[in-house]
Symmetry: C2
Subunit: 315 residues, 2 copies
């Protein structure tokens, strides 16, 4: 799993930061990637990455402000043009479906894949044998969701050396043991699954929040998360503006993670008032927290390897 | 007057060319600029120019394909955020108004200036004391307009040396002479306006066409134009595709200008299949025409000075 930030700005694009789009790469886990929000020119940002639009499987929209959705129609069209023929599902607030449908109809965009648009409420919005995605309403000037992606525990590995030692024949019995069933061998001996399988491997938990001020639901969604992506439009010196516009400071984001016992924080949605040289000062304001805190730039990528978060060096 | 090309690609953005947007700079003539089409990320392109979104006065949309309109909502919102408070008028095909209105309503975008959206038919779509804009339907896979912008003849200059020599007193009589009226002096002498004014200075004619195959209306709109901006999605070797998709080759564009007696051709809307190194070959295919032909790249700018078209060197 990797997190790739395609747009880390707020409100409008600037030369430094595009409007919001965050990619959860699940290429190892399911051969696809998911995206959270899709500001204008997200497809342009993709041109500078190795992402293939046809591998976009799910798109989660936090809220309907333009800087989070105006890149959607272009990406939907290009995904079709570039040979994407597998279904794509979009999750987001009420109003999304009518807008996407009118936009595609107005522009006579014929999409060759199945497009599902699901207008969500709070709760579990997706679940399969690998993942659960839960949504909760945050506190912004319009309805805005945060999402928590929980990877289910990975099935324990079958330890072939042990089954061989016990004389279990290669074949269907192994499958049963791997799936947790105890089996009886031809000679009457019972082999217990728990004796020939490894440990259950915990999955990861990533929380990706939309625009919000400091709020209880952000904490609930971030509970014990391995990684929290939280907006930090403002800093300590501009905290008043955060309150005024329904946004957070980097301190608010850090406090959410602290109260939630989250393990890593990545801050995005940075106001264009902050120049690249200001980011060091922002980070200094939260240096006393006991977990790692990053401010994401456009194209920043983080790799989740064996329970550790590593920033991928840019070429 | 200058023409500035913000996007010269076709269908989808590429690393080389953004989707369509063409700017007619009228800063000297009326302190504003006009834009023709507005593909996704046009506001991003503007960030790399000296254009101020608040000076955008009119936006002419040729047709509703996504690569010509998906940049509109973002630009409308940013123009307001950046302090644009003067009215903006958008001209385009039926369907434009409902889409813009739903998009702004869905994204809760509050625009502080007056936004007029005029769904046009063929004919004169705008006229004031300086300019006339005429629209005609071209031949594309969906309704698509071309526009001809005609600058009216500039009022003749008053030749002060001559009025002084004739003893016309400074004051209201001069205004009457400048406006074409003959006047009587206090001593009974008649002074003719035509004797004390310069020549009527012809305005320019610029034709900016949307997506189209070679068609009669493109020729009519280009009649005697100083500059024609015509799409050239394809070249001689890919002419079959042009026919198939309702587009033109660079030869088609040149033939329109030839039949119309136009003076300069600028080709835009270039398929992403053509690499920068292919453009020389495209131009070679039309080298036998007797008027200058340019293939515009993104950010190419052309200056109209005393009846001559000059490519502005890029910094
Ligand atoms: Zn936002
Ligand atoms: Zn087009």
């Amino acid at each position: 799993m990797q997190l790739l930030f395609l747009g880390t700005g707020a409100g409008m694009p600037s030369k430094q930061r595009n409007t919001t789009a965050t990619v959860l790469k699940l290429l190892d886990e399911r051969g696809t990637f998911w995206m959270f929000d899709c500001g204008e020119a997200t497809q342009h940002q993709i041109l500078h990455t190795t992402l293939k639009p046809r591998k976009l499987e799910k798109l989660f929209i936090t809220h309907l402000h333009g800087d989070h959705i105006y890149g959607l129609p272009g990406l939907l069209g290009s995904r079709s043009f570039l040979g994407g023929d597998e279904a794509l599902t979009i999750y987001g607030p009420v109003g999304l479906k009518a807008w996407i449908e009118l936009t595609l109809a107005t522009s006579k965009t014929h999409i060759k894949y199945k497009l599902n648009i699901i207008e969500i409420e709070e709760g579990i919005v997706f679940e399969d044998d690998q993942f659960i995605v839960e949504a909760k309403l945050l506190e912004h000037v319009i309805p805005c969701f945060g999402y928590k992606v929980t990877q289910k525990a990975l099935p324990p590995e079958l330890l072939i050396a042990k089954t061989d030692a016990l004389g279990v024949p290669r074949g269907p019995l192994l499958k049963q043991l791997k799936e947790g069933q105890d089996v009886e061998l031809a000679d009457g001996r019972i082999v217990r699954s728990s004796d020939v399988t490894g440990e259950l491997k915990e999955g990861f938990q990533v929380t990706i929040l939309g625009d919000t001020k400091f709020c209880e639901n952000a904490i609930l969604l971030s509970q014990s998360a391995d990684i929290v992506v939280h907006e930090g439009t403002f800093d300590q010196d501009t905290a008043e503006l955060a309150g005024l516009y329904g946004h957070s400071t980097i301190m608010d984001a850090a406090n959410v993670c602290k109260e939630a016992g989250a393990k890593h924080l990545i801050v995005n949605h940075i106001s264009a008032r902050f120049m690249p040289s200001d980011i060091k000062d922002m980070i200094a304001q939260v240096k006393h927290y006991e977990f790692p805190i990053y401010v994401a730039d456009d194209f920043a990528e983080f790799d989740w390897v064996n329970g550790e978060l590593k920033k991928v060096p840019r070429e």
